[in-house]
Amino acid sequence: MVSLPFSTQLINLFAGLLLLLSFAMLTQRRVLSLINLFAVQGFVLALSTSIVAWSTSQGHLYYSALLTLALKVVLLPWILHRLIRKLSVKWDVETLINIPATMLIGIALVIFAFNLAAPITLIGGTITRSTLGIATASVLLSFLMMITRRKAVSQVIGFLAMENGLFFAATSATYGMPMVVELGIALDVLVGTLIFGVFFFHIRETFESLDIHHLEKLKEH
């Protein structure tokens, strides 16, 4: 086996951790732990981005690592913590249906994503190209999480985790997006979370619950 440079090994390790965290989020029942897992995922993402920046001397990636750290490790988890405290759902436990089945679907998604990324990996020129499959898998897993959840808060966390996966995909495929695009996305995510926060209160006011299945009915009975 060809020995990889140490920085690549570290990036691969962090990529593995990201996938592990995606699975942990998929099966986590408690809203509070879900937010903490999201913060940890952001932290791992920032670490791996700064290692990519260091090993390829791409200066702008340091800024995006800092941006990730500020936004996804500090600001967004703080906003979410405040939200669940105000909504008094801090200790909510979601009833998830059949975790083993969800995890099996997750494994199938991972295999699909790895196969999808394999041809791109072969032609890629970045040192991080082999992590593209993991990034795609994280996006799909977050998507699965949004589908399986019933509560609005955890769906939003799934959405944010999907953004984490996309960011990682951009870093691994092309060493990150241009700074303007990254700033734009960061702002979008921030504003999106704030607006979702307002929506949560409206949903709860109307239905007295955060269960979004109530939104499927068109009329009130």
Binding site: M1, S3, L4, F6, Q9, L10, N12, L13, A15, G16, L17, L19, L20, F23, T27, I99, P100, M103, L104, G106, I107, V110, I111, F114, A117, S130, T131, G133, I134
Partner: protein, 316 residues
């Protein structure tokens, strides 16, 4: 390698591990007591229990079959053989070619089958209940264990533990993300197989929750002592397998007398650290309902599978 010194190493390892196994259990229990702000019974307590049990008169049920009497010895023999095969102190021992990791899992399964049969032998309801629960956990834990082993085997291209240790421990340092997944899965399997806290509580005799204790309720005196000793051997064997797979440094080659003190020192450090870690994990987690156990072990299995997939993606 000299044939005689190989045998000397084999005997040294087997005897040493059998003697220190209760100490490992005592250390884990002592750490747990410290973490719970208790003074604890001291690390020598398991030896005192064994001594007490060996001096008692054995009581057997009238309808006990020879199987019931033979099981403690078979169990102890299986575990002793297992610690002889696992490279605890040295690799390339004379026993090592006898079994690769798959056979090792089979050895643990053999012991489990006998304990379960003996539990049902007397015909009490508790024994049957414990046996059924144990078999459920066993059949879920074994695939996860095998998948963990396969991840390590894929890296070193061999299912022999000694070769795995040599490949992983004696080459230059490489980070394998797949091994991180396998390690998490292995810890989950270790907790389940050794009747530790998220799955079973080793210190409870509450009917509704006990699994392992329910099976050995009918045993007394020397039989019970052997079973207790075998459980501590099993814990030590699992810790040894775990450190062989994930911390494979400092293990000597058989016949290498210079490397022996280093191997002994490394063994002590590894056992101290993993024992404390195990106690910490047990303290921070609560025992889960028996119906949550399949979910726990399915997670372990899927993590091990993910480890294999990651191996093909990143390290293939």
């Amino acid at each position: 390698m000299n044939h005689a010194s190989g045998i000397a190493f084999q005997i040294l390892q087997s005897v040493l591990v059998v003697l220190i196994a209760p100490l490992v259990l005592g250390w884990v229990n002592q750490c747990r007591a410290w973490l719970q702000n208790k003074s604890g019974p001291g690390i020598w307590q398991p030896y005192k229990v064994l001594n007490k049990l060996f001096h008692k008169e054995a009581v057997l049920a009238h309808n006990a079959s020879p199987l019931f009497r033979a099981t403690p010895y078979i169990l102890f023999g299986c575990m002793w053989l297992a610690v002889g095969i696992v490279p605890v102190l040295a690799t390339s021992l004379p026993f090592a070619p006898a079994a690769d990791v798959i056979a090792l899992v089979g050895l643990f399964a053999l012991a489990r089958v006998f304990v379960a049969l003996a539990a049902m032998d007397i015909g009490t309801s508790f024994g049957t209940l414990g046996a059924r629960r144990e078999m459920m956990i066993g059949f879920l834990a074994e695939p996860a264990m095998l998948m963990t082993m396969f991840t390590a085997s894929l890296i070193s291209q061999s299912t022999s533990l000694a070769t795995i240790v040599q490949t992983l421990g004696q080459q230059e340092f490489v980070i394998y993300p797949s091994m991180a997944f396998a390690a998490v899965a292995f810890i989950m399997v270790l907790l389940a197989e050794n009747a530790r806290i998220p799955i079973d509580n080793p210190s409870t005799h509450l009917e509704l929750t006990m699994i392992h204790e329910a099976m050995i309720l009918e045993y007394s005196a020397r039989h019970l002592a052997l079973i207790e000793w075998a459980s501590s051997l099993k814990l030590t064997a699992y810790i040894a397998i775990g450190s062989a797979l994930f911390l494979p440094w400092g293990i000597a080659r058989a016949g290498d007398w210079v490397g022996l003190p280093i191997a002994l020192g490394a063994l002590v450090v590894k056992l101290l650290l993993t024992g404390a870690g195990l106690a910490l994990m047990e303290t921070v987690s609560a025992k889960m309902r028996i119906f949550r156990a399949p979910e726990f072990l399915a997670t372990a299995f899927l993590l091990a599978t993910l480890g294999m997939l990651i191996h093909f993606l990143l390290e293939g």
